[in-house]
Amino acid sequence: MKWALVAAMVFATVAGDLLQSHEMKRAGEQSVSARGFARLLHVIAQRRLLILGIACNAVSFFSFMALVQTEPLSFAVPASSSSFVLETLLAKFVLHERLGARRAAGALAVLAGVVLVGG
């Protein structure tokens, strides 16, 4: 059950983030004032892929919620971070972001850090 929850969580996280990143870039720059949130809700209502991305977040969230109830945070948090590698690669190859040496090195340092924090 533990690993099924981890798998569901990682898959949903990756799919959700890719969809949201893609859609939000297309929607244009948003802000987080009261008016900004209202505008953001309007953007969400108009974009189906964004709603699908949020649904993926919900799956990921409930898997995490179930996981932390039985497993320690020190397992759940690093387990959830395995999506990090997958997402960074897909950001490059699917979203066509330019990683560059500095960003790649930084991402690797963060990944190593997350593994150490959880280990």
Binding site: E29, L50, L95, A107, A109, L116
Partner: protein, 144 residues
């Protein structure tokens, strides 16, 4: 052509949204973790159990903060690359370690401090890269 003021303004906006997201996420996770420990039933595939868990005020506050955090993160996605947002938001792990140390008096091992340091250094490194490498005309519809 973007002038320097517009560009540094956009950068400041990105970092403000980032800080707001980190605060919401830390508050939300702490409240939810605290509340879930008080919920007697084990979670399963039954959605009613999750709804009942939300009757706990800490879980409810946590969920509300995490929903706001989700919206804030979406705003962040509109401002910066996915490969930028992921590492810089990992600073949340650093905050979690500090919160655990200061408020819950958890003992933090050398290994955990080293991990925290690596996350912070990595996030700073990524934070100095160009935040949006796929931008074409994203500033065009930015309201005043």
């Amino acid at each position: 052509m973007k002038n320097l003021t517009t560009r540094s303004g956009a950068l400041l906006k990105t970092y403000s949204v980032l800080v707001f997201f980190l605060a919401l996420k830390a508050a939300g996770n702490s409240a939810m973790a605290w509340g879930m420990k008080q919920v007697p039933e084990r979670m399963s595939m039954n959605p009613a159990l999750y709804l009942r868990a939300m009757l706990n005020p800490f879980v409810a506050i946590g969920v509300a903060a995490l929903i706001l955090a989700l919206l804030t993160r979406m705003a962040l996605f509109s401002l910066a690359d996915l490969s930028f947002v992921l590492p810089v938001t990992a600073v949340g792990y650093v905050i979690a370690v500090f919160l655990g140390k200061v408020f819950l008096h958890e003992t933090v091992s050398h290994q955990r401090w080293l991990g925290t340091l690596l996350i912070f250094a990595g996030a700073v490194l990524v934070g100095t890269t160009s935040r949006n490498t796929t931008a074409t005309t994203s500033l065009a519809e930015d309201p005043k």
